[in-house]
Amino acid sequence: MVGIDILKKIHFLQDLSDDILEKIGGIAQLETFDEEAILVRQDQKLHLIYMLVTGKIFSNCRSASGKALTLDELSPGQTFGVSALMGDSLATFTAICAEECTVITLSSDQMIQLFEQDFKLGYVVMQQVVELFKSKMNKHTRQFLHSLATHPAMGEIQKDPI
């Protein structure tokens, strides 16, 4: 069980009401992981949602050619593994503790069970998931368009209209 005061440190949960946080807190665990502990392995099924309270986590991935790419440095307040709520989800990244970390973990099965007992709660949390995914997608798109607009080949297209 995790108290509301700790849950409120997590950005993903900050807009949720105390009633909802109390229910989520009831199935949440607060765990400490050592440096170099692997929380999520790429290509393995996700069962837990992770919320970083203290410490630092690196997410990286291995490409098809076997190269390891460091993608991200997760800081306190950030959440990862939300796609565990989608079921049958394989992780597209590996998450490793860069230092000792305190992490809230939520079992996706228990979360889904909670949602199906209280659809109103399920709606509010899934709406939050949709907003999170939507904002990531919009950022992907903006970055993609920015890369295209600044690509040298764009100048060639404009000089040489078909």
């Binding site: 997410s59 991935c61 490409s63 098809a64 050619s65 190269k67 790419l69 993608l71 991200d72 440095e73 997760l74 990862f80 593994g81 939300v82 796609s83 709520l85 989608m86 989800s89 597209t92 990244f93 998450a95 949602f115 659809f119 109103k120 399920g122 709606y123 899934m126 709406q127 998931v129 949709v130 907003e131 999170l132 995914f133 939507k134 990531k136 997608m137 919009n138 950022k139 992907h140 798109t141 970055q143 368009l145 890369s147 295209l148 607009a149 764009m154 297209i157 404009q158 209209p161």
Partner: protein
């Protein structure tokens, strides 16, 4: 009104139980759009959620006055305009029919009203929309990883890589 059988052809409704599909079938409309119909454009307030039964729809944005970028070509079974199911969202792309299209539509404000009285329906719809986003994000994440693998120097040019990573 739309038949439940037609709703079952929509990917994002696959997990929705029949008693909820029955509610949706009362609210849904079946519309036919001609080729080149622009359903909405960038910046439009979105109040319709679209589910494609037949045809093809391009989602695009103008990069500059001369170049349009196609973000996705949607086929039957796919949906778009999910902003209509969230309050106060505007379109971040334009949607244009590439061929004659048969589309099931849901009126967003009415759906948001229904979500208040039918939280089970609201929950399943959000699960469906989140699943769609995840599929698209997975495809994009694979593309980003493949590109970074082939051109590691790009890693340093992406100023907000923490926002692009697949750690969602």
């Amino acid at each position: 009104m739309v038949k439940i059988e037609d709703l079952k052809r929509i990917n994002m409704l696959r997990k929705v139980p029949d008693h909820l599909l029955a509610i949706l079938s009362q609210e849904a409309q079946l519309s036919i759009y001609g080729v080149n119909t622009q359903l909405f454009t960038v910046g439009d307030p979105i109040d319709i959620y679209y589910m494609l039964i037949m045809g093809q729809v391009a989602l695009k944005v103008a990069l500059n006055p001369d170049v349009d970028v196609i973000l996705d070509n949607l086929q039957s079974g796919q949906s778009f305009g999910s902003s209509a199911l969230l309050k106060g969202s505007k379109a971040s792309y334009a949607a244009v029919c590439l061929e004659p299209c048969e589309v099931i539509t849901l009126y967003g404000p009415r759906m948001i009203e229904l979500f208040e009285t039918h939280p089970e329906l609201a929950y399943y719809m959000m699960v469906g929309v989140a699943g769609q986003y995840k599929k698209t994000m997975d495809v994009r994440a694979r593309m980003i990883i493949k590109t970074l693998d082939m051109h590691p120097e790009l890693n340093h040019r992406i100023d907000d890589i923490e926002q692009l990573t697949p750690a969602y």
